[in-house]
Amino acid sequence: MTGLLAYAWALPLVPLAAFLVVLATGRKLPRHVASGLGIAAMSLVFLASLGILWAVMNGAHYEASAPWIHVKDIEIEFGFLIDPLSSIMLVVVSTVSMLVQIYSLGYMAKEERFRWYYGAISLFTAAMLGVVISDGWLLLYMCWEVMGLASYLLIGFWFETETAAKAATKAFMVTRFGDVGFGLALAVMWVSVGTFTFEPVFKLVEEGHFAGPALIAASLLLFMGAMGKSAQFPLHVWLPDAMAGPTPGSALIHAATMVAAGVYLVARSFPLFEANPETLTVIAVIGLITSLVAALTALAMDDIKKVLAYSTISQLGLMMLALGVGAWAAAIFHLMTHAFFKALLFLAAGSVIHGTHTQDVHEMGSLWRKMPWTTATWVIGALSLAGIPPLAGFWSKDEILLATYKSNNMWLLGGAMFVVVLTAFYMGRTTFLAFFAKAGTDSKSLHAHESSPVMTGPLVMLATLAVVAGFAGSPLGNYAFGRFLGEHAEGEMNLALAGFAVCAALAGIGYAWLMYIRGKGHPDWYLRNRVIAPMLTRQFWIDDAYMRVIIEPSLAIAGVMRRMDFAVIDAIVRAFGVVGMFVSSILARFDRAVVDGAVDGLGNSVIEGGRQTRRIQTGNVQTYLLLLAASIVVLLVVFAR
């Protein structure tokens, strides 16, 4: 197995090859071959990553690099790194990608651009794999960007619709804005330490050679990049709109993997942040704010996918909070469990949409009768998300709460608890409204049907993972997860805290049950409250602020530029044209007068000369005689000398 590690660099290339094949062959490729390639590629990677995980768990570690740019004194290398963190990420990414692709066989079966979908999914997976195994920030950044491209392609998959096209552009622009920070971080790093590879930089930080404002700047700028990709406040606005893409794509990218890349980045770069604890505070605060804002907004959502989107943002905020209080292993733990149950929830939602042809929960109801498998798996995912033991989500969320508690910051802890309540509540609300509430007479649920096994199969798989994956980091698993990742502190559990959290979650679920099943307590009261409702429905006016502050001024400037271009630049071009014509007219006259004149003149002079010479031939004998005599005289005079 250890020998396999040396070839880990090839892992991203497998799905990349699948993508290239689809790109090259287009419609000539049979549909099943396109999907088969993708699934086969991912299965291969899945198995390989399991093998790698096994090897690393047994103590293997691999790092290799090759020189890339070598110009005078500048040497940049790129390579890959297999350590506990990257091996876990490999497994997570490949598992979810594989299951999503299997699921898509059913969900996207009627899609015209079936092949391109699989191609884009493969491209994305290749990039994500590249992100998790790269050994330095530069290579990570490059794969990061490719991920952004793949996200753009998938969000804008149905680019004929205006919503999808706009959403894709919005996602790209917002994340790109964050990526500017990432790029600047690279610049700072280059100027300060001259290398991009993790290990050397960490050493320099340890030794104190990389410190001070430069280090703070670099780490915060890296976080800015993470904010973009992981939808932290205020760069979270793209994620809800990204729901315009195909649901399985959303499951893969916007729930499980890509958005987690930001968390991964911070976790990987943790030594940089650790050196300046203020930066960690920033991360924690932003994480908490994000989490709260998103959770509150989720309360007002009727679209099942939008609920999940805001839920994702909220959970990502929690992961950032965990990182901010120093518990990076807990953050990665939650990342893993979240990947599984969020992907599950998205795919289940897709199943629901597929069956009922609507996304509005108010048009559903009593789905449990018609779609039992979907309902069951959804419920498991929802409970896991809410943090109900013994499901996976409980264990990972609890770790985060524990770390927050240990940080002795009551604001953070209180906020996190509130998020727990809200999460349970809105998930309960959505679940009850969609699956258990009595369906109305015109509900779409009446004609719903359960999805095919090719879709429900992955649901079951993910549900299983949503149950068992948590045990690795629990007391039952001896906190193996944390230790595996290198945490030295002994894992522990604060039963009081855990109990309090569970009660909070149950309270949230109970309140939702009362409201939506029993009909008590004025369901959706907050949507009618004059103070709260606007905040929620306008997503705290973030989008409006963006519009007023950034977008409208940009468009205005663009308009000005355009007018200037017409007036000035076109005028210059036209002037050139006029000048050119003027010059050419002069040249034409010159050509006609001088050049033609010379040529014609030459010809004319010859003709004229002939005409004049002709006058001697008068035909008159006396003329000839005269000339004769004159010539004789001349000759006499000349030769008489």
């Binding site: 008159n620 005689l625 005599a629």
Partner: protein, 102 residues
């Protein structure tokens, strides 16, 4: 004393006068007559040379005789041509015959 030079001058003068006349005549007849004058001047030249330079040989004089004969023949023919031209067309001016005009 009368020397060769005198005769030669005289002959040259007569020649020149005849030349002038030939060049400034409108009618062909006049030209022919002036040509006669020219020929006479030539005769005189020859005779003078014969007398002063080679008196024992009669070559010059022979030449003069031949020249006279030829002149006579030529005059006859020229006049015949002129007469026939005039008879046909009443042409007076010689310079209206210009077939050689180029």
């Amino acid at each position: 004393m009368i020397g060769l030079n005198h005769y030669l001058f005289l002959a040259a003068a007569l020649f020149s006068i005849g030349l002038y006349g030939a060049l400034t005549s409108k009618s062909a007849l006049r030209v022919v007559i002036c040509v006669e004058l020219i020929l006479n001047a030539v005769n005189l030249n020859l005779a003078a040379f014969s007398a002063y330079v080679a008196p024992t040989q009669a070559v010059g004089m022979n030449f003069v005789i031949f020249l006279m004969v030829v002149a006579a023949a030529e005059v006859g023919l020229a006049l015949a041509i002129i007469i026939s031209l005039n008879r046909r067309n009443d042409i007076e001016a010689i310079d209206s015959i210009r077939r050689l005009k180029g």
